[in-house]
Assembly symmetry: C2
Homo-oligomer: 479 residues x 2
């Protein structure tokens, strides 16, 4: 195929360079004058808008209400929860001057909004009647990261952050887990990305949380992406921010809380789970353009009319684009492959004559000849096949790169490749740190579903110290 | 009617206090620890979400694409357009420390994003093929305002800001005007708020613009609210940021630009155009709850079942709430009046028996008895009547408070009341400033529609200097 677009780096040559080539060439982002802050261009933001719309739809089913908290947090407010401030204070941006005057108290740009939500809850939650409060906001946050990559790790990034308040610990904890399930469904069914669900170890959990649940994905380079998290706070924040309610017996109690979030990083997960050397491969549900129609010999009137007719038929049910620009068909093929459009329809004079056209799948290049009269029934079938195929391939890739390991010498051998390693673990920070220091693998999570446990009854020792294990753990090289 | 909710200040006693009482008691906002920064609570944010959804729908028809620009602007970038920086630099918040280190160049939190868009355009606009670019973003911005009021004038506020780039001045200017038309339709048809469209005088226009078009509304205290603006930039910004394109003759030209925006201030306009001493009065199209069903004697099984049945019928087509909480009906009446819910349905045992219920309109308290079988046809009719009535009343109020004045002594007399005053004007800053200094009235706009001109051919002198007038002007006391 004619390649008129500028080539990108092959993923086998330099995966990191391939990734940044894709995000720029597919016009997802543009860099700006501030390190770690990017423009989400129309094509990138359209993906994010579709993601927001899917999640808002699911959130509404759970009676989650959207709100907008302010951008700025006074230093004294951020400092109320000690673990939280310890985790975040080193990486925040400080506003020290407003309207030409030096502020008496500096304000940080929210790195996350627990302090703001808690302060609001402390004023608005009074009685058991006010509970639960189940809030979410869509916004951007700022964390002064030292090394940044677009969509993956930024100084500013877009996200949703949910914050809830409950009367009991059971209700709060099961809510945190229900969000993890919501995220899993979203990754598996919408993004076609397989995930591993688990709990973070103490050293990896969110600053201020009792439990951090996590969604971990494997990328095409074998590395691990923490793709979403859901935290159970117990009443740590409630005590620090004095969030209390009168229970039905008129006694004052602290509330129990959760928070949970998912960022534009999910777009990075899609790029690195499905992409290839020709660019993006988008799962149909989040593709801003699901079908592109490329006319062959556009100046042929019959072709032009047939393209418009098919566009109008498809435009009712799908996000479809008819590209009538004066670029060559070859340029258009490469351009929409780069942008990961799931289906391309080629319509030329011969197709008009034969009353059919050629459908090309982005995921596996399959060419399907389809009569024009069947197109409305055929397209949804193909889109579903694309979804299944994307998931199946990503799942197989991930499964083939998870290794169960019983001792350090096995760990050493296996960890030479980029993969996930599953072991037993005693639960100590020391053994966790040993793996990090010696192999560069961090603990990803303690899996929730121990039915997936691949260990036998006779296996019971921690992979490092060989003492009695308390759980299994996935290890990986983290983004 | 039983009033169990806390009373608010009457609008005739203290309009300003009435306003802040309403925004707090209707649970639109909560104050925070940072002056001028509020929480948009679920009810307030739901209104904003509906507004965003309406405007996004209209924007899509005009091929406007949403994007996300970063939050932070380097000082050197802000300084590129001289008038722009002069207007905004005194009221920005500066980030001077990031991740514990003092920054070599300070960054301001965007007060508006012209600099960011122009910087992006200068990289991405190369040829006539790239034009026009028609972008919008939904975000919050920060302006260090000295005196603030929730939704009306804040340090941080939510808005949409559109930014476009065109090949010709004609195309850009007509685009700016087409947005003004879009805003007018939105105010009149969706918010039921009458508007005056016009051009700002030079002293009131946007920092950096050639022309600022404005949407002006009158509030129930007779004061003027600038509710939305659309700016034509010429190529001022293009020259400052070097945004050029190759035209079809391969010559390099500067682009022509517009920007336009509308903020959460539109919610303030609705409050102050339609509200009353019982609280909010929401136009049906933006009401998060369009119909509230209040059961009378909720423990009566037949009532409970009928309420649920009617809820399920209405819930398909409308935003409806059935309040089954244990609060008294009187409490609920007052609560949903405070929240401005357009229609209340009362269903008690007698209604179940008579197979009908009572519908109460929020706008004029009219009670309408309606058979249950007619409810799905009756409700849309009532909602339309509410819309018409809101617009009609606001329009009459505004019309009655616009006075045409020919000389300074008339101006002095008329300006003792809160109103709009229309005069002829010579176009000089000096005369404009004279009116401001002597009467506290600022120029609102030079009306676009001179068909509305109420002057006779014999009137031709400026209201201040009596020299030949160049246009008519609306004057008012501005929010």
């Amino acid at each position: 195929m004619e390649k008129l677009v500028r080539k990108i780096t092959s993923m086998n040559v330099d995966f990191g360079k391939w990734y940044t080539d894709v995000v720029v060439r597919a016009e997802l982002i543009d860099y700006t004058g501030v390190r770690g802050c990017v423009v989400l261009r129309p094509y990138g933001y359209a993906i994010w808008e579709i993601i927001m719309s899917f999640l808002n739809h699911e959130f509404r089913k759970k009676n989650i209400e959207n709100v907008a908290m302010p951008l700025l947090i006074p230093e004294s407010l951020l400092q109320k929860e000690k673990n939280h401030v310890k985790g975040f204070a080193p990486e925040v941006a400080w506003v020290t001057i407003g309207g030409n005057e030096v502020l008496t108290e500096r304000l940080c740009i929210r790195p996350t909004s627990e302090a703001l939500f808690c302060s609001h809850f402390s004023k608005t939650v009074k009685s058991w009647r006010d509970l639960p409060k189940i809030y979410n906001q869509w916004c951007s946050v700022v964390r002064w990261e030292k090394s940044t990559r677009p969509l993956l790790r930024s100084v500013e990034f877009q996200w949703q952050e949910g914050h809830t308040v409950h009367a009991t610990s059971q209700e709060a904890e099961s809510f945190a887990i229900s969000i993890l399930d919501l995220y899993r469904d979203f990754f598996e069914h919408i993004l076609c990305v397989p995930v591993i669900l688990g709990r973070k170890t103490d050293s990896e959990k969110f600053a201020g949380a009792d439990i951090t649940y996590t969604v971990e994905c494997m990328m095409k380079d074998g590395k691990a992406l923490q793709a979403a998290t859901s935290h159970y706070f117990g009443n740590n924040f409630a005590r620090a921010f004095d969030v209390k309610f009168q229970n039905k017996n008129n006694k004052s109690e602290f509330v129990y809380q959760t928070s949970w979030g998912l960022t534009t990083r999910v777009i990075a997960s899609v790029i690195m789970a499905h992409g290839d050397d020709d660019g993006l491969v988008l799962p149909p549900d989040i593709a801003p353009i699901q079908i592109v129609i490329v006319p062959i010999m556009i100046k042929n009137n019959a072709v032009f009319e047939k393209c418009n007719e098919i566009f109008n038929i498809l435009n009712r049910d799908f996000r479809v684009k008819l590209d009538v620009s004066d670029q060559s068909p070859g340029w258009k093929f490469a351009e929409y492959e780069m942008k990961g459009v799931p289906i391309r329809l080629e319509i030329g004079p011969k197709d008009v004559d034969s009353n059919s056209c050629v459908i090309i799948r982005r995921d596996n290049r399959e060419k399907i000849t389809c009569g024009f009269s069947n197109i409305l029934t055929e397209i949804p079938v193909i889109l579903t096949k694309i979804k299944c195929n994307l998931y199946k391939n990503a799942e197989k890739f991930c499964r083939d790169k998870i290794f169960v390991v019983k001792n350090l010498s096995e760990f050493k051998t296996v960890s030479k490749q980029h993969c996930f390693i599953k072991t037993l673990w005693c639960g100590s920070d020391v053994c966790e740190q040993y793996i990090k220091d010696n192999f560069g693998f961090s603990s990803r999570c303690i899996p929730l579903d121990e039915n997936q446990c691949l260990f036998e009854a006779s296996d019971h020792g921690c992979v490092v110290c060989e003492k009695k294990a308390s759980s299994s753990v996935y290890w990986g090289e983290a983004y």
